[in-house]
């Protein structure tokens, strides 16, 4: 399965930043979110996972595969690109548009769980909610993130949080996944080289 290359402004080199979550811990966190989803959604009934590219998409697939192995329920997975709905295009420039692909049947009357790697300002999720509204009318929309690093700029919160990581605004939190980066871990990079 090929994923579009990450368009991060400064590509992560092998040594930059401090690893705060290792591969085994990351797998445990994904397992826990999967359990929480099952618990809070009555066994994932009428539920679909929509990953936000780039890393939300493989995360959504992993969650679906964990849910399948725990309770043998098949949760549809899709991708929801939010680029065309962003409010920072003028500031940061037009960028490549990622794929949007919805599971069959669409989002109408379903429980849609948006999946992203890091929750920061909340602006990506705001864009995702707008994009979702143009695709149909879900019965309920929830949010699952691997990392909540704080510093919200909008009244948005996640329903499922893998890990709360307190950060300063200057720092940057990077989730690396085997599917996109060849390795599973979470790194934190400071302003000055550590």
């Amino acid at each position: 399965m090929a994923y579009p290359a990450a368009d991060s402004p400064d590509p992560i080199d092998a040594v930059s930043g401090k690893t705060i979550i290792s591969s085994a811990d990351l797998a445990r966190i994904v397992d826990r979110i999967a359990h929480q989803i099952l618990e809070k959604t009555d066994g994932a009934r009428d539920t679909m996972l929509l990953g936000i590219p780039t890393r939300g998409v493989p995360l959504a697939r992993r969650l679906a595969s964990r849910i399948r192995s725990f309770e043998s329920v098949e949760v549809p997975v899709g991708a929801l690109d939010v680029t065309l709905y962003r409010d920072d295009l003028r500031l940061r420039g037009a960028r490549a548009v990622g794929p949007t692909d919805l599971p069959r049947g669409g989002v109408d009357a379903r429980r849609v769980i948006l999946v992203d790697d890091v929750l920061f300002s909340g602006r990506t999720i705001r864009a995702a909610l707008d994009a979702l509204a143009d695709l149909g009318r879900p019965r309920i929309v929830q949010l699952a993130v691997l990392v909540d690093r704080g510093h919200r700029e909008l009244p948005i919160r996640a329903d499922y949080v893998g890990k709360n990581i307190p950060t300063s605004v200057d720092e940057s939190v990077r989730v690396l996944l085997a599917e996109t980066d060849g390795i599973d871990e979470i790194r934190i990079t400071g302003k000055e080289p550590s």
Binding site: D7, P9, D81, L84, Y85, L89, R90, L91, R92, G93, A94, R95, A96, V97, G98, P99, T100, D101, D130, A133, D134, L135, G136
Partner: protein
């Protein structure tokens, strides 16, 4: 983050390198996917103004740009020379300065003079997109043709494309030669000697005069309109003779490989460069090209206007 398209203006298909052209085609694929949505409108260019400045008649290009801009929520102002102050003698420059004063973020221009978009780009601050200038270039047509080829064949690299007919007067041919060469296709121009420009020997193409020799190996046949309105001379003896030697009829289509597609930028002279039964056949992508035009122009507008200036 560097914007993916560094172009300020799109004046020629040669302005795009291979990565940039591929980015436009990839973005167009995503834009096409939004056409199947419940709400087709995207908020991306809200608050931007796109002016369609058309000095020459056009159906599909103008409507296509208008639809593309509106799908992206831009405000669209349509200007056609007929019924404007141009008929009172206003110059292109004065018209341009008027548009500038109105705050146009992009001007899409079609003009009968080659180089008019280039001049315009020097006069105004906004982005200029060439929608066809004289016999020079029509870059968005080349992009939509490349998109159509890619969606039918899955690739462009290595394909054999025959561009047939009135190359001399065709901006579509010039833009297609540049873009298809950039994307790695082998282009052969087939035309009566009188309708091949003198400079074509320097283009990255093969030249031929015999259509029947080219068809059996072509993956794509692109028929050009015979542009009678630009013809100031007699370039061929009669329409019947042109059709017999360079028209694509059902017999010639049978000599094409089974996977080959037939393209035409429109408007067609049915019965002259293309037979009606060929134009309406399953191999023909003519209607598809029009639909793809909207997606490709959405991609161009987004990539050129979406970012900061």
């Amino acid at each position: 983050m560097t914007p993916p398209l560094k172009l300020k203006h799109l004046l020629s298909a040669g302005d795009l390198n291979r990565d940039e052209a591929t980015l436009v085609l990839d973005t167009a694929t995503e834009m096409a996917a939004t056409a199947g949505r419940e709400v087709k409108k995207l908020p991306t260019l809200r608050g931007r103004t796109v002016v369609n400045l058309f000095y020459e008649d056009s159906t599909r290009t103008r409507i296509s740009f208008e639809a593309a801009a509106k799908r992206l929520s831009a405000d669209v102002i349509n200007f056609s020379a007929k019924g404007s102050s141009v008929s009172k003698g206003e110059s292109l420059k004065d018209t341009a300065l008027t548009l500038q004063a109105m705050g146009a973020d992009a001007v899409v221009i079609r003009h009968s003079a080659s180089g008019a978009p280039h001049r315009l780009a020097h006069w105004i601050d906004g982005t200029v997109i060439n929608a066809g200038d004289g016999t020079h270039e029509h870059p968005t047509q080349a992009l939509l043709d490349a998109y159509t080829i890619r969606s039918r064949h899955g690739r462009i690299e290595g394909l054999k494309v025959a561009i047939v007919g009135d190359v001399l007067h065709s901006r579509v041919a010039r833009s297609n030669v540049a873009l298809l060469h950039t994307l790695g296709a082998h282009v052969t121009l087939v035309a009566p000697p009188t309708l091949l420009p003198v400079g074509a020997v320097a283009w990255p193409v093969d030249l031929g005069f015999d259509l029947d020799a080219v068809l059996p190996t072509a993956d794509v046949v692109m028929m050009l309109r015979v542009q009678r309105e630009r013809m100031t001379d007699s370039f061929f003896p009669s329409e019947r003779e042109y059709a017999r030697r360079y028209g694509l009829d059902a017999d010639r289509v049978r000599s094409l490989p089974s996977h080959a597609i037939v393209m035409h930028p429109g408007p067609m002279n049915r019965g002259m460069e293309i037979a009606p039964e060929v134009a309406d056949s399953a191999r023909s992508t003519i209607v598809e090209q029009v639909a793809n035009g909207v997606s490709v122009r959405m991609a161009v507008l987004y990539l050129m206007l979406g970012g900061s200036r």
